[in-house]
């Protein structure tokens, strides 16, 4: 018990310390990046240890402060939280590794500031993962927006400024307008915001009100990029690749869906959810988003933009699962948080690598570059398969459960939407390797320009992890089952 609390503190403080420490190493980049790497690895170890030691039957409780009487800032992880925290902790070192290679080759400005806010964002994400009640979750949800803002506007260009405005406007606007209202309203009704297995709302709560609240919660959580509040994500792609990779494919967006899962499972309780018409509506909206996003992705020529829309679609899988609120759909959603993360981060890494090697950002320009950067593109292909949900890759498991969920709840239209989108994924993701390998282009020289560099290492690792998660998903399943048990 005591140990797990210390570990939780560590999870929060390690990245924070890194963030605070980095400015002092401004002068020597090597030292600076060493610190980042070291910190990230320590974080990973702590996360793993926490997973080992934690006792979910009576989870550790860590109260930082009590800003509002009986609404403390409380950290008390559940299986879902641990899963999220593990995920982020695993990907941070890899991304740092990647970043070292990328940022240097790409000669970004203000590198220290970059690493600094990066670490800060990780700290905040950990806080979200571990949060023990809705107030805490909300607080750090907002913090995450602020912590990532400097990364989005990193370039400082006019375009970055615009993107920053959109980013902040949508994320903070919705969260203040809807999420905060929903939170306070819930507190007003239930008198508590603590996450409880069977929801916090008294049985006699007006169902109409519950519907409203659910809508407020979902639309308030724009980080989940459910249409129509999704524009910020493509806009945020102006940020450097590592940011898009870890934050806008994993940390930030997953924080969004994580919030939704928390709300559905622990504030409403899945039994109540399945009774709410609003949930069905949202499920269908998610279904629509899934298809629509895939279609838009099809039309995107910019690689990162395409990936961004793909992410929007994938996120809606999770929302869909949450709204169906059957045991297997919830399992699917929780799992998809992880599996999609590995696939998508790899894809982004590759996009970055392509940019570095060939200075190309458009799909249409990629003809025949396969000869130059074969490894990258192979990894890309594998990751794509995982994202699409084909064996032998992790992506398959989560999709499996989700489809099952839709069938269980007899929403065959939604099943269809899942399958259609998988098909579309297939098309728009595999187009890239296809062009690279099979479309010839006379102009491109056939020189091999893929020296072994840190970022290549990173790509390899994540690709392997995709595979590994298919072959040995024990940890994943252990946690998933715990979540299921909690339902």
């Amino acid at each position: 018990m005591e140990l797990s609390i210390t570990l939780m503190l560590a999870l929060l403080l390690v990245p924070l310390t890194v963030a605070i420490a980095l400015p002092f190493f401004n002068s020597s980049p090597n030292l600076r990046e060493a610190v980042t790497l070291f910190g990230s690895i320590v974080l990973l170890i702590c996360a793993a240890m926490l997973y080992q030691t934690i006792d979910f039957d009576n989870p550790p409780q860590l109260i930082l402060a009590i800003p509002l009487p009986n609404y403390p800032i409380l950290f008390s992880p559940d299986p879902l939280g641990i899963m999220f925290s593990l995920l982020v902790s695993t990907l941070w070192p890899i991304t740092s590794l990647y970043a070292i290679g990328y940022i240097r080759q790409h000669k970004e400005l203000n590198q220290t500031r970059f690493y600094c806010f990066f670490a800060l964002s990780i700290a905040v994400t950990q806080a979200i993962a571990l949060s023990g009640n809705m107030l805490t979750l909300f607080i750090f949800y907002e913090m995450l927006t602020l912590a990532t803002f400097p990364l989005v506007t990193h370039a400082g260009s006019k375009q970055a400024k615009q993107a920053g405005r959109l980013y902040l406007g949508i994320l903070m606007g919705t969260s203040i307008m809807f999420l905060l209202l929903a939170t306070i309203w819930s507190a007003n009704i239930a008198g508590t915001l603590a996450f409880q297995a069977d929801g916090i709302f008294p049985a006699d709560t007006d169902p109409f009100l519950l519907n409203i609240l659910l809508l407020l919660f979902v639309f308030g959580t724009a980080k989940a990029a459910l249409m129509p509040f999704h524009h910020w994500l493509p806009a945020a792609m102006v940020a450097p690749v590592p940011v898009s990779a870890l934050l806008h494919a994993v940390a930030v967006v997953k924080a969004g869906v994580f919030t939704l899962l928390k709300v559905v499972i622990y504030l409403f309780g899945i039994d109540n959810i399945s009774l709410l018409p609003a949930a069905d509506f949202l499920a269908y909206l998610a279904g629509f988003t899934i298809v629509a996003a895939s279609l838009i992705a099809l039309k995107q020529d910019n690689i990162k933009a395409r990936l961004a829309y793909s992410t929007i679609g994938q996120l809606s899988y999770i929302i869909l699962g949450a709204m169906l609120a059957t045991s297997s759909s919830i399992m699917g959603s929780s799992m998809h948080i992880v599996t999609h993360a590995f696939g998508k981060i790899t894809l982004f890494f590759c996009a970055g690598a392509i940019l570095l090697a060939t200075h190309k950002t458009r799909v249409s320009e990629l003809n025949g570059i396969g000869k130059q950067i074969p490894i990258t593109l192979c990894c890309f292909t594998l990751a794509a398969l995982s994202t699409i949900g084909l064996p032998p890759f992790a992506g398959m498991w989560s999709k499996w459960w989700l489809v099952q969920g839709t069938i269980e709840s007899g929403q065959l239209i939604l099943t269809a939407s899942l399958l259609i989108s998988s098909l579309l994924n297939l098309i728009y993701l595999l187009e890239i390797p296809l062009r690279a390998f099979f479309f010839q282009q006379s102009t491109t020289p056939l020189t091999f320009k893929e020296p072994l560099s840190p970022h290549l290492l990173a790509i390899g690792t994540t690709t392997l992890l995709c595979l590994l998660l298919f072959l040995k998903p024990d940890v994943l399943y252990h946690l998933i089952n715990l979540i299921d048990k909690g339902l």
């Binding site: 800003p67 509002l68 107030l135 209202l181």
Partner: protein, 496 residues
């Protein structure tokens, strides 16, 4: 009687006496020290009084040894002491800040009378918050008002003169309304003492004279409070006054007006009469709502940051009057909470702008360029202050919003909750205008300010950051603010 028993009068009279002393010594340095000493004394005194009150209830002090209602009574309850703490702390910080800012903004031969007048303003406002006698309240109101007009007129921009004059006319009309109101109350009760009035009024609530008196008092106070249609004097007054003055007035003057409103509505009259019998609750809500939306919208289009903040202040006062209009314990409590927190934010922001003016020479958007590199600490202060203004969790502003929304939901008025949130939405826009201008590098061609680091002197940074830290502290630990405010509200609402 030991000196401690005299604290209620001392915390007023010390700053008051310090003023003529400044004139006698007639030296800038000495005046500054005197002012600082006086304010800090009052601050410590108020803390001491806070302890006494929380321990053993309200304090009454009969001036001249004549017991009320024949003599004038000083009466301190929780609400008064909250205001006094706010006033004296802000005053101390502002005076500490003033040293260099004043040297730069105000010509030599005026510095001494400036400090003297500032002291009078401080004492006047404190006197309002502590007086238990309506006419004495009027007198101190006038001291503070005349002092404020003068201080505002000291602004370098000639528009300061026009602003000061507008304020003088509006303020005097307001004061005269209050005078008339007091006259009507006296006409029917024969007393001026608040406690006495509150005992005698309930039997007279149907009396038309009393009702008219009520109306005149409210209107008069709302003029001072800059409640929406009566706010025209405020923006320019805050925008063109010297930085120190803007900071002090923005943080305190309107707050004291709110205090007067609460005092009259809830102590002199009582909760049910003011907010249920009279239609005032509806009016306050309506005007508050309009103020929030309209002023926030106007604020968005300002290029002069001080003006921007001034409009935001009007919006914030809208929040406060709206919460009062909710006519519930929670509403009053949240009004008091926001009153306190808003003073902290605006104090911090205006002081930070003061530092900026001191170094960069102006507080318009164009001056912001490269601020972050040039004065990082000040810029950070502005950012955090701005976040608090929006109501980002972890800042004092969030606490205010939380309670105001709770209050409106409790009253079953969820549209108001939406409105309040919409207000914060607008706040995001106008705050972000500042933050963007400060943080994001200007396209180098337009970069006017040299990007060498050039931070404000310590006597400026300390007060700024004291307030910034207060903003964060009271966003995380609300034992003091919330519990005090709630207790005060319970006392004020009383039987209800």
């Amino acid at each position: 009687m030991s000196v401690v028993d005299h604290l209620p009068i001392l915390i007023i009279i010390i700053p008051l006496i310090a003023a003529p002393l400044c004139v006698l010594f007639d030296s800038a340095k000495v005046s500054w020290l005197l002012a600082l000493a006086a304010c800090i004394f009052s601050f410590i005194g108020s803390i001491k009084l806070l302890n006494t009150i929380t321990a053993s209830g309200p304090i009454s002090y009969s001036l001249g040894g004549w017991q009320p209602p024949w003599g004038i009574e000083y009466r301190l309850d929780l609400l008064s002491i909250i205001l006094l703490l706010l006033l004296t702390s802000i005053a101390s910080l502002v005076v500490l800040f003033a040293r260099y800012s004043v040297e730069q903004e105000i010509s030599k031969n005026r510095i001494v009378p400036f400090y003297a007048t500032l002291l009078l303003a401080i004492a006047g406002l404190s006197g309002i918050c502590i007086s238990g006698d309506v006419f004495n309240l009027f007198v101190f109101l006038e001291i503070s008002s005349i002092a404020s007009y003068t201080l505002i007129s000291l602004g370098k921009d000639r528009r300061a003169l026009n602003a000061a004059f507008k304020y003088l006319v509006m303020g005097t009309i307001g004061a005269t309304f209050i005078l008339i109101g007091i006259g009507f109350l006296y006409m029917q009760t024969g007393t001026l003492n608040m406690q006495d009035l509150s005992e005698r009024l309930p039997s007279l609530y149907d009396n038309r004279t009393i009702r008219a008196g009520f109306a005149f008092l409210t209107v008069g106070i709302c003029l001072k409070l800059a409640l929406f249609p009566l706010h025209l004097w405020l923006p320019n007054a805050y925008a063109y006054a010297p930085s120190v003055v803007s900071a002090f007035l923005a943080a305190t003057a309107t707050k004291v007006a709110v205090y007067m409103l609460l005092r009259f509505l809830l102590t002199v009259f009582d909760f049910n009469f003011s907010l249920n019998t009279m239609p005032l609750d509806v009016i306050l809500i309506a005007l508050g709502s309009v103020a929030i939306v309209s002023s926030s919208l106007v604020a968005i289009f300002q290029v002069n940051l001080k003006r921007l903040l001034a409009y935001s202040s009007i919006a914030q006062l809208g929040y406060i009057s709206l919460s009062i209009g909710l006519a519930s314990k929670l509403g009053i409590a949240s009004a008091i909470i926001h009153l306190f927190n808003h003073a902290l934010m605006k104090g911090a922001l205006f002081l930070a702008l003061g530092a900026m003016i001191y170094k960069v020479g102006g507080a318009e958007l164009k001056h912001c360029q490269g601020m972050l590199k040039r004065m990082p600490l000040t810029s950070l202060a502005i950012i955090i202050g701005g976040l608090s203004l929006i109501g980002i969790p972890g800042t004092a502003g969030f606490i205010s919003k939380w309670y105001m929304i709770n209050a409106s939901l409790e009253a079953g008025l969820w549209p108001l909750a939406l409105l309040i949130l919409f207000g914060s939405l607008l706040a995001i826009i106008y705050v972000w205008k500042m933050v963007e201008a400060i943080t994001l590098q200007p396209s180098t061609s337009t970069a006017t300010a040299p990007l060498t680091r050039d931070e404000a002197p310590l006597t400026m940074l300390v007060p700024i950051w004291a307030l910034v830290i207060a903003n964060i502290y009271y966003g995380i630990n609300t034992e003091l603010t919330v519990s005090l405010a709630q207790r005060a509200a319970n006392i004020l609402v009383g039987g209800y």
